[in-house]
Amino acid sequence: MANSRETATQALRRLVQGGTALVAALAVAPAVSAQSSAPIKIGVIGEESAVAGASITKAAQMAADDLNAKGGVGGRKIEVITYDDHSSAADAVRAFQRAVNQDHVNAVIVSYISEVALAVEPWAARLHMPTITPGAASTLISKHVHDDYEHYKYMFHGWINSAGLADTICDTTKDLLVGPYKMKSSVIMSEDAAWTTPLDEEYQKCLPKIGLKVLDHIRFNPDTTDFTPIFHQIEAKHPDVIITGISHVGVQPTVQWHDQQVPIPMAGQSSQATTSSFWKDTNGATEGVITSTAAAPGVALTPTTISFTDNYTKRYGVSPSYDGYSSYDDVNIIALAVQRAGSTDPDKMVEALEKTDYVGTMGRVQFNGKDSPYTHAVKVGKDYMAGVAIQWQDGKQVCVWPTDICKAKLKFPAFIKLPQQAAAQ
């Protein structure tokens, strides 16, 4: 009896052991084969009902299709899974968790909104998920990585951050407005958001350096619908130019500026004006507006700029917003990092991403190292990503800066009074 019971127990134990081994083998087998042929899965979280946010998912999908048409990367197909966060940080975090835990993605591309990217960042750290934001601009994103590298190293910042953006805009304004038009004063007009806090700080530092006195600094609520009082306040200071920092808003200030014939030119960053549909959205009121952006129609910043813009416009009917360029590049950068790492292990991917040296649709992409205060942010400058400035002229985005590539002259609507004209009167 005792003997037979012992045998039964032994048999059971063997069965369990054998079963475990079998299960383990089954579990490992696909993991091994995953190394070679399973698709690289990239979760892409965008904002489908916002002008800039909608470009992110579209461009990422296009990048995956383009790579897959060429047979994928290292024999692996790229699979893009898209999520809409409805411009809400809470929805973005849920989408992120779902992407990681349920859809088992290998990397995530997320948002143009700094508040959203900042909400997702701790989750990228906790869940060890390599994550790139193609459109957010707050300097805090990469500052977190710098301050606590071991924890936050999974986060990468794929767009020019606010400080870099402000410096670029100051360079643009100097070449376009201060030099030729003898402008001397400005008012900063920014929406109240995470990305504009460092932007405005840098504006206040760099504008006086290029010779533009800052007469007033207006931060308005993004829910504002009537901009008349704001323009009135600006006009009372008689600045030569309004330097903008707007992204969540765009149509209303632009249309009201035009309809009320505010005689001061608008330059700076107006993210919605970076897409071709803005002309229609504003009924042409955007005529004369100057904004920084990723690339301009017909200007070859790199060998792929024009073909990307054309293919995107053909496929979706509108030109890509600024973050469409970076989103397209980020899919390529992630796929190449997986190939270099030879694995989708997050830590190995982070190491590979750090070694990124990729010429994309708008410039050469490299990420800052640990020594930079903006760790894992893209390098900004003439040799890397610098962006361009465009002005809306007769319904078209015309490249006006950098002046060595873009030769077009500025043109303003009749209601704009430029300093020289004002002096002549």
Binding site: S49, S87, T224, Q256, K280, N283
Partner: protein, 291 residues
């Protein structure tokens, strides 16, 4: 000059608010319905008008008319799909009908808002002004469009006054707001009167939506706020009182404009809301309320 600027801007805003609120209050007076889908209906008018004027290439005037028509259609949809079935339901106790209508229209308004955001994105749309250009009024640069909006609002309100006070149907409408039971005893069909008030409401809300789109621009994200502002104005003026709503519309319009110019644009809606709370405490029947 700042004073004049406030006077002009506040008048344009107040006129638009007034137009939006008049239909809202008239409907409450006549049929006891508080339509919380109000902002949604203005939104539909604005978006369809914008679509017709721009994408469909019909131009601003045709677009404006189509927008108003869209407002009317969505008002009818609200009535026939949401309000009337609730009013006629035997399962809902009489005394709870109004609460059910309130809830029904609120949910309907959210459905419109989300649906429109899906179809049109939540980016604001702007109609091209019917008349472009500006005029200088004693140093204040005023768009012609702003003047025309105020004028159109008053023409619409004037026509409404003529309709209510000078026509047979209008008088029945007025009577219904005073004593609906008496009116049915006289042999009037209440459902026809309801239909008339929804027609008037739809047209007024449609005009307000399209004009707002040409003045400040309108997005699906604004729908809730539009309902809230109409609701506040109507409560402030006295529920069901048309003249009270008009007075309240200008009070709110000017309070907001003064705050925006003299304090901060960000704080714009706050004083009007404080006033509303005070009115609810001190004079619950509103400025010109009957009860």
């Amino acid at each position: 000059m700042l004073g004049l600027q406030i006077l002009i801007d506040g008048f344009a805003i107040g006129s638009l608010y007034g137009l939006g609120a008049v239909g809202f209050t008239l409907m409450f007076g006549v049929s006891g319905v508080l339509n919380l889908a109000h902002g949604g209906i203005m939104l539909v008018a604005a978006l369809i008008g914008w679509l017709a004027a721009g994408d469909l290439g019909l131009g601003t005037y045709a677009g404006t008319l189509i927008g108003i028509l869209a407002g009317l259609v969505s008002a009818f949809a609200t009535y026939f799909v949401v309000v009337r079935p609730i009013q006629r339901s035997k399962a809902i106790p009489r005394e709870e009908t109004e609460i059910f209508v309130l809830t029904g229209t609120l949910l309907w308004g959210i459905m419109i808002q989300v649906g429109m955001a899906y179809l049109f994105t939540d980016n604001p749309v702007t109609m091209r002004p019917l008349i472009g250009g500006i005029v200088n009024i004693l140093g204040v640069r005023t768009p012609y469009n702003e003047i025309m909006i105020a004028a159109l609002c008053w023409i619409a309100i004037g026509l409404l006054w003529v309709l209510v006070n000078r026509t047979q149907a209008g008088k029945a409408l007025l009577a219904a707001s005073i004593n609906p039971r008496g009116l049915t005893l006289l042999g009037f069909e209440l459902s026809n009167i309801y239909l008339l008030v929804w027609t008037i409401y739809g047209i007024l809300a449609g005009i307000a939506g399209v004009l707002l789109a040409s003045f400040l621009g309108l997005s699906s994200a604004n729908a809730g706020q539009l309902t809230a502002s109409a609701f506040s104005i109507v409560v402030l003026g006295g529920l069901g009182s048309v003249s009270g709503s008009l007075v309240a519309a200008y009070v709110v319009g000017y309070l907001e404009t003064i705050t925006a110019y003299l304090v901060a644009p960000t704080l714009r809606p706050i004083p009007a809301l404080i006033l509303l709370v005070l009115v609810v405490y001190i004079r619950p029947q509103g400025l010109l309320g009957r009860r």
